[in-house]
Symmetry: D4
Subunit: 132 residues, 8 copies
Amino acid sequence: MREPDNVFHLAIPCRDLDEAQEFYVTRLGAKLARRYADRITLDFFGDQVVCHLTDKIDPRPEMYPRHFGVTFRHKDDWDRLVRLAQARELEFFQEPMRRFEGLIEEHWTFMLIDPSNNLLEFKYYLDPRMMY
Amino acid sequence: MREPDNVFHLAIPCRDLDEAQEFYVTRLGAKLARRYADRITLDFFGDQVVCHLTDKIDPRPEMYPRHFGVTFRHKDDWDRLVRLAQARELEFFQEPMRRFEGLIEEHWTFMLIDPSNNLLEFKYYLDPRMMY
Amino acid sequence: MREPDNVFHLAIPCRDLDEAQEFYVTRLGAKLARRYADRITLDFFGDQVVCHLTDKIDPRPEMYPRHFGVTFRHKDDWDRLVRLAQARELEFFQEPMRRFEGLIEEHWTFMLIDPSNNLLEFKYYLDPRMMY
Amino acid sequence: MREPDNVFHLAIPCRDLDEAQEFYVTRLGAKLARRYADRITLDFFGDQVVCHLTDKIDPRPEMYPRHFGVTFRHKDDWDRLVRLAQARELEFFQEPMRRFEGLIEEHWTFMLIDPSNNLLEFKYYLDPRMMY
Amino acid sequence: MREPDNVFHLAIPCRDLDEAQEFYVTRLGAKLARRYADRITLDFFGDQVVCHLTDKIDPRPEMYPRHFGVTFRHKDDWDRLVRLAQARELEFFQEPMRRFEGLIEEHWTFMLIDPSNNLLEFKYYLDPRMMY
Amino acid sequence: MREPDNVFHLAIPCRDLDEAQEFYVTRLGAKLARRYADRITLDFFGDQVVCHLTDKIDPRPEMYPRHFGVTFRHKDDWDRLVRLAQARELEFFQEPMRRFEGLIEEHWTFMLIDPSNNLLEFKYYLDPRMMY
Amino acid sequence: MREPDNVFHLAIPCRDLDEAQEFYVTRLGAKLARRYADRITLDFFGDQVVCHLTDKIDPRPEMYPRHFGVTFRHKDDWDRLVRLAQARELEFFQEPMRRFEGLIEEHWTFMLIDPSNNLLEFKYYLDPRMMY
Amino acid sequence: MREPDNVFHLAIPCRDLDEAQEFYVTRLGAKLARRYADRITLDFFGDQVVCHLTDKIDPRPEMYPRHFGVTFRHKDDWDRLVRLAQARELEFFQEPMRRFEGLIEEHWTFMLIDPSNNLLEFKYYLDPRMMY
């Protein structure tokens, strides 16, 4: 268990703030906490993601080494997010799939790509010890 | 408050796994969860950071747009981490300082740089509404 | 998640305190916290509702823009309240129904009307991100 | 203590959505959860407030019988919000004051007025039994 | 929800401390916290029951007005205690039964009698609002 | 720590329901959950106390073996209740005092007597291990 | 319920630190918190186990009187650990089994043996009162 | 943070059950959960310690490699236990002291020895990251 009162903080590049707000708030369901001329700050599943306006956009994003997201403790939370991503036609970088079947590291995962080419991964592990 | 059972997940580049383990576990006090040939996974203040072995290291890291860390709810948690970083001589990318004094966004912050040039920021806001 | 120690506070008009206590405490299952000559205060599903004696009663209440209630995280809490409202013959302003089927905003809802024409809505969303 | 997983739900009138978002999100520090053509939904201190576009604005709001807000369990949360309201020059309907001094009902309170004439009250009681 | 850090405190009469310890600790599964010459103190399902040595034993206990026990939030906790009481042959003052069927006050209940004629009631309500 | 979802349940004798409601709700700050012809049920500091109408009132109550109340984890909760009892002139059966000074069992305590001669004790122990 | 902020602390003998880290971290899924020349410290299912380098290894370990482990509140946590132990071929000192069937003390259990002959027991009780 | 619903389980040798109960329950303030002919089970600061009757008593206990206890998150919990141990004249194997002053591993500690020569250590770390 993690401390419910603290917040993980992640800053990512963003080429357009309106576009980022559309992706994260209107479609993905994050909440807009603050908006400034050069950034928006988000309550992203309980943690903080900040989208900084920049021209340092990764033109050809790859799965490794950079991506971020949430690992859910319960499978139905992962399922509901798959449903949301499909219903609202978010762009999948990787379709929902099961990985490492039969191993203790077995998990369900999918990846989205945001309008600034940041990759988001959402996971569910069968064995909660593997969440870390 | 965030959900204590879920985990934020962040993957970052790393040029050497031993070096990363030395920085994150031995010195910063994160916990080693898993070690594979190409990555180590960490319990980083209750969330998950994964260091992926890669040669895509940022040669000239800048504060924006990429960094990550923790925003603490209580000031003494931030103070203790400053003390740890100083006592164990971690490299500061930015010394502990107070920012936006007098504004509601006022906060205490410092930034570290890890051996693979990833930037870590640790913050404490006077007004908890600003944590997001 | 919200902070369990704080309390949302709502003051509403009421034409008769006994009648309000009968509706909220005896029938709906809220708890009477305090009673004064001009108001009763209620522990309403963990938050505070205060009924102020007044003659400013809305003669023709409409669904928008004013109503209040609880959005439950778990469906069985919503189901039990439907059962209570039906068994105790509370007056429905809108019968239990499913709204926005197929959308991520899909939810179950019903509305009650109290003796002072205040409207109460109780909801359950399939996707907890839509509770806000 | 209230259930941290449920959410209190309040719908209020609003004459202009941009103006409401400016007041609640940019200045008061609530979070924007969703925005539609006719409403915005807010994460308001952990509960949900929905601002519905309407022309039913109360031209002469009075303290009773309608207002809403938060009763904090800890005084420093109340103090911080006073500081925010003053620093950001929110309009006070009633200045911060101590009420019922010497009685068990003694509490600290202030009231704000939003651009659509809704009244917000934020309180702190010395005796937590009086929060309800 | 109640405050997990506080403890309800109940003192009851007891004609023999060994007998009381046998009933509450060995058979019912409470924990012995302290033992003095004139009393034993128990961690009774998380609250405190103190058995005071006395000759004021009620010779003909009746269901009303005095009894005590626990109301469980989840039915399987009630079920497990029924199983324990039956397996260990505790004396039932009233067999497990369903009361007020069809009403919102509907609940499952049984009563035990301890060796000093104190009555214990354990309940489960279908509607958690009725636990108070 | 005790389970926050369960409730301790205590039934006590009561000679007059209005008088009991006046004592427990209006003056002591408990909440009225339900009222029937022969009983009132209370949310008493998070647990349930039921006052049953009866003529079995104890004419000469003594401290032992029967009394009930709350043991607080934090001293300021005990202090606030002393303040309430004094300000509202509740009848003390025993004035606030410190008992067993110097021993590990040392605690602060006071006793009230309700209109039906039930004794209530409220305590605070310096060493939380002694709460049981 | 136990206090989530405190940590149980157990020091055990270990003949080789690498071997211990392999067993506890790589295979059993505990986390490496700290490593010194003479010990490793582990986050072992939320508590702390310290493996001290020593030659005091028990050559013929027996089930009693020394062993340690975790008693899970929910059966699926126990099941998942059985699956992990089997999939990763940890050495069982005692195969998964049901003990005391039909008694209230009935539980599921298995024992592992670590490379330094320490015995680990993992249990699940049908009646949570028996966890202590 | 650890999971409040699970329990750490430790079995230790004991030469005499009455003596062990006297030490752990009567003097140290643990609770007796169950007593059998060959063992007593304890609620030891929220976790489970089982004392097994045996003649395998360590005649010359040393600090390493075997001892157990609790690491407290808050200093006043450690202080209160020092006070209890001194007031009730428990035998110290090591007096209360500060260790590793100036290092991040700095902590307060003391060790007790039980009648069967088991060593108990109670600690408080200035930096909570060092609790593991």
